[in-house]
């Protein structure tokens, strides 16, 4: 058993408020991983101790709690955040206090901090492959796209990237519809009927949904009520996972799509044992697993590796040791930490089944490396992030050969 002064890690996920619905699970995963790690002998022979706080879905409170974790609890690393705004809110704190944040959720990219490891998907690891699939014969060969999302930065950016990408694939402006709704939109009648009308132009139409969290349930219910099925107008979602489906009656949704880097249904020994541990830990054989959980798992194990490698929890040492580390994914293949603090990930497209699980119908041949900056956005097409020597910069302009703006870290 591990001995000595415990190593503390912070868990910064909302346990109340609007985001509790998604984030509580990630807190549980980290607690489970801590327990498993301690059973395996801890880290550096010392036990791990999780410091859990509740930032309550309140963005400034995220910053406050981040500061508490780093300055008061002196944690070795923090696992946390879901929404982009919460990440943006804590970013200055992590940079000021030189902390380490593992961010486990798919996001819009266009960011690259030395103090953050992005273990969720960047747009090129989710959105682009998903659209590729819809364009392909297998995916129905869509010629017309409705990009609908919640009005915040992740959908905005993702859709901006997708619009440029679709145009580069020969889709006309008139065949792209973009629509934003507020958080928690619950009345989708008008928008769904607009989708229907949009889909009646005689071209195969697909929807790309970046609708966030809670708003998905009423959206899919309305799709069902108005009789739109996956074979009419498939909906490809980036924020609907097993957890969300657990709260829905999925029968009318069969065949609708989601793009992720992990599905619970993927049959691999590692995944099986992870699911088993999870059911044991939560004492609930029905608790689902999902993509951000895997991303948390990867991040946690990468951190453990880095600490073991440098024999210390010193932040700078750990950060520098991270790049190049590898961790096996739960679904096969490996996640490798890239110089831009993103990782390589496989991309899967799944169809919703009536049991609330996804049936993988397509996957990338190999892992896709995460790109911090989108090549499809004019302002960032020349940017890269590289936290290794000699560049050591999160926003390096490869044309000007210069690090832009304030150097992070």
């Amino acid at each position: 058993a591990p001995k000595g002064e415990p190593i503390r890690i912070g868990v910064l996920h909302s346990l109340s408020g609007t985001m509790a619905i998604s984030e509580t699970t990630l807190k549980d995963v980290i607690l489970m991983l801590v327990e498993l790690q301690n059973r395996k002998g801890g880290v550096l022979g010392r036990p791990l101790e999780a410091v859990v706080v509740d930032p309550a879905s309140n963005w400034p409170l995220f910053a406050e709690k981040a500061r508490q974790l780093l300055a008061v609890d002196k944690v070795a690393s923090v696992f946390g955040c879901w929404t982009s705004v919460s990440r943006k809110s804590v970013l200055p704190v992590f940079e000021e206090l030189n902390g380490i944040l593992f961010y486990p959720v798919q996001y819009e990219g266009q960011e690259c901090s030395r103090n953050v490891f992005y273990t969720g998907a960047a747009p090129n690891q989710q959105a682009i492959p998903a659209v590729d699939y819809l364009l392909s014969a297998d995916g129905g060969g869509a010629k017309r796209f409705a990009l609908i999302g919640t009005d915040y930065v992740y959908p905005r950016t993702t859709n901006q990237i997708l619009q440029n990408y679709l145009k580069s694939k020969g889709i006309a402006d008139a065949d792209i519809m973009v629509n934003y709704t507020p958080f928690g939109q619950s009345d989708w009648q008008t928008i769904v009927s607009q989708l229907k009308a949009f889909g009646s132009a005689g071209k195969k139409t697909a929807v790309v949904s970046t609708i966030n969290g809670d708003a998905n349930v009423p959206f899919y219910k309305e799709l069902g009520a108005q009789g739109i099925t996956a074979t009419d107008i498939p909906v490809m979602a980036f924020s609907v996972g097993e957890e969300e489906l657990a709260g829905m009656d999925t029968k009318p949704l069969v065949g609708q799509l989601a793009a992720w880097n992990y599905f619970e249904s993927i049959d691999s020994p590692a995944n099986k044992s992870f699911i088993k541990e999870w059911h044991t830990y939560t004492k609930n054989p029905k608790r689902t697993t999902n993509d951000p959980m895997e991303a948390s798992y990867i991040g946690f194990n990468l951190w453990v590796q880095a600490v073991e490698k440098v024999g210390s929890t010193d932040h700078d040492k750990v950060i520098d040791a991270m790049v190049g580390l590898k961790q096996a994914n739960l679904t096969g293949g490996t996640a490798k930490v890239l110089p831009n603090h993103h990782i390589t990930k496989p991309v899967y497209i799944g169809e919703i089944q009536d049991d609330g699980q996804f049936n993988v119908v397509w996957q990338t041949p190999k892992e896709v490396p995460g790109m911090a900056w989108s090549p499809y956005v004019a302002e960032t097409k020349n940017l890269i992030g590289d936290w290794t020597k000699p560049i050591n910069c999160g926003n390096y302009d490869t044309v000007k050969k210069a690090c832009l703006g304030a150097k992070h870290g």
Binding site: S186, G202, D214, G227
Partner: protein, 552 residues
């Protein structure tokens, strides 16, 4: 003109299929690339492809099965669609699961395969499309009248020129007018579709006219496509274009009706959410911030009822919603009484402090539910009899929304009756207007207070049942309704149920009228600003209580 109105569960299940097959043509065309229409293969085992793991092969196999026909075609395809078709992991044996027993797919004779070696045949959207198309093809000749009608619609929607012979054959065999009409539409659609056999300009234009007459989104889609179809006669393309714009015009007109329906449906949700508050806040003056949480608990009660019914009497599962209505009313009503006795009663005369106390209560209720049932959504299913939609002219009426509208009206009527026509209603109003005098008149004010709060809470529970059908059921549910509920009650005029009704309808219809014009977010902002300006002109809402008694 648009579709004929239809109703009833049979029609519903049918139309699911039609819609399901709407985009079929694309996939079928694609699958044609993979099928070698080689007659030599016709007597090969069409079923073998199903036993593979390749979606492409499975889909082409489905098409082949349909083309070959035969007595086993339909049962196998249906089993595939129902995920009851299994393949052996070795070889190409196929079995259909019949409850606990099995039959061989190809022959239909009972079989006893080794279950551990079986895996379900994989299905994806492409396979689903192929199955729907194949089923339609098979049922058009052999199905029941309803199935035939459904199949004809599928044909219309997929408008695949390859199906023209089948359509003609079916046309020659039927004298059912409706079926004939659908088939004629299908024929016209197929004629105008890519890959159609060359036809003369006159026939094409007749087809355009036929589709123009059919109207609706399907016809619009086909005509829009035809208008860009190079192989068609230029005059046909022009006619198709004109037909599209005239259908568009028609659709826009219907759009007003459709928006009105959406608006009333949104309004009825608002009304339900606000009605309980119209009692606890409007009548009693309690600024009840926990109102949303009572709705949330009503929704959870629905979920629990559903679970309970499914575990006790699964056969009644689809009627659990009916049971949930009294259950939610009683649970929330009782909770309301507990809240009134434990908290609110100490605060009469200090209405603003009820805000503080009930806010605290709402935090606790949210967290209680989170602790009990977890932070995530729970799945409340919509029973089949509430699913789907039907057409009223060009207006699509979704059944769950319609049910909510009716429910809201019924609750409203009931509440009005209770308040206006029963002794309890009179006592409620008396107590809330002048508690001390009411006591002097022998009214048990404590009891009436508890009952009034319980009634308002019970109605919040009913609202919870309704929203569980269209929205998330999670501990956060209440938060998304509380602001709108207060807005409705106040906008309508506090203490006036008719005002609440008018405000809910106005906000619902107004919101839905603005949404297509300026978008959901700006529409909402605009509506809020309009409400603010309206209140400036009518400082006591739409239906103010007038007179001396109010002003002094």
């Amino acid at each position: 003109m648009a579709d004929v109105a239809m109703s009833g569960p049979a029609a519903l299940s049918g139309r699911k299929l039609w819609n399901g097959a709407r985009g079929i043509f694309a996939a079928v065309l694609l699958s044609l690339l993979f099928i070698q229409p080689d007659s030599a293969r016709a007597d090969e085992d069409a079923f073998a492809g199903l036993a593979t793991t390749q979606f492409n092969t499975i889909a082409s196999s489905v098409d082949q099965i349909a083309q070959q026909g035969g007595p086993r075609a339909l049962p196998v395809l249906r089993a595939l669609a129902d995920k009851k078709l299994f393949a052996a992991s070795e070889g190409d044996a196929l079995f259909i699961r019949k409850g606990d027993s099995w039959e061989d797919a190809r022959s239909g004779v009972p079989a006893t395969p080794d279950e551990t070696t079986l895996r379900p045949v994989r299905v994806n959207n492409r396979v689903r499309l192929a199955v729907a198309a194949a089923e339609a093809e098979l049922e058009l000749v052999s199905g029941t009248p309803a199935e035939r009608q459904a199949s004809a619609t599928v044909f219309y929607q997929r408008h695949d020129p390859a199906m023209l012979p089948a359509i003609d054959k079916a046309l020659s065999k039927t004298d059912d007018a409706t079926l004939k009409d659908t088939l004629l539409n299908a024929r016209a659609a197929a004629l105008l579709s890519p890959g159609a056999p060359a036809s003369d300009a006159q026939a094409q234009q007749q087809a355009v006219a036929k589709l123009r007459a059919a109207g609706g989104l399907d016809a619009r889609g086909i005509l829009a496509q035809a208008s860009t179809e190079e192989t068609l006669d230029p005059a046909t393309r022009k006619a198709a274009e004109e037909a599209v714009s005239s259908i568009d015009f028609e659709l826009r007109l219907w759009g007003f009706g459709q928006d009105a329906f959406y608006g009333m449906s949104l309004g009825s949700v608002l009304l339900l959410a606000a009605m309980g508050l119209a009692i606890t806040f409007g009548v009693m003056g309690v600024i009840n911030m926990a109102h949303g949480e009572l709705m949330m608990i009503g929704a959870y009660t629905t979920w629990l009822t559903q679970k309970a019914v499914l575990s006790v009497a699964p056969a009644l599962g689809s009627f659990s919603l009916v049971l949930a209505i009294p259950a939610a009313f009683l649970v929330c009503g009782a909770l309301g009484i507990v809240i009134e006795r434990g908290l609110i009663r100490f605060l009469y005369g200090r209405p603003l402090e009820t805000l503080l106390a009930t806010w605290g209560l709402s935090l606790i209720l949210q967290q209680v539910i989170r602790s009990l049932f977890g932070p995530t959504n729970v799945a409340v299913t919509t029973p089949p009899w509430l699913s789907g939609s039907f057409h009223l002219g060009g207006i699509e009426v979704t059944i769950d929304r319609l049910a909510i509208m009716i429910f809201a009206v019924v609750v409203m009527a009931g509440l009005t009756l209770v308040l206006r026509r029963t002794p309890l209603g009179l006592q409620m109003r008396a107590v809330t207007q002048n508690r001390r005098m009411a006591a002097l008149m022998g009214i048990r004010t404590a009891r009436v207070d508890a009952l009034t709060f319980g009634l308002g809470s019970g109605i919040a529970g009913l609202a919870g049942v309704a929203v569980s059908q269209i929205d998330n059921v999670s501990p956060n549910l209440g938060q998304s309704y509380i602001i709108d509920s207060f807005l409705v009650v106040v906008f309508g005029g506090v203490g006036n149920l008719w005002g609440t009704l008018a405000a809910a309808a106005t906000l619902g219809i107004g919101g839905k009228a603005l949404e297509p014009l300026v978008g959901a977010v700006s529409g909402k902002i605009l509506l809020l600003v309009l409400v603010i300006l309206y209140i400036q002109r009518h400082p006591r809402g739409m239906f103010p209580l007038r007179g001396r008694g109010v002003e002094s």
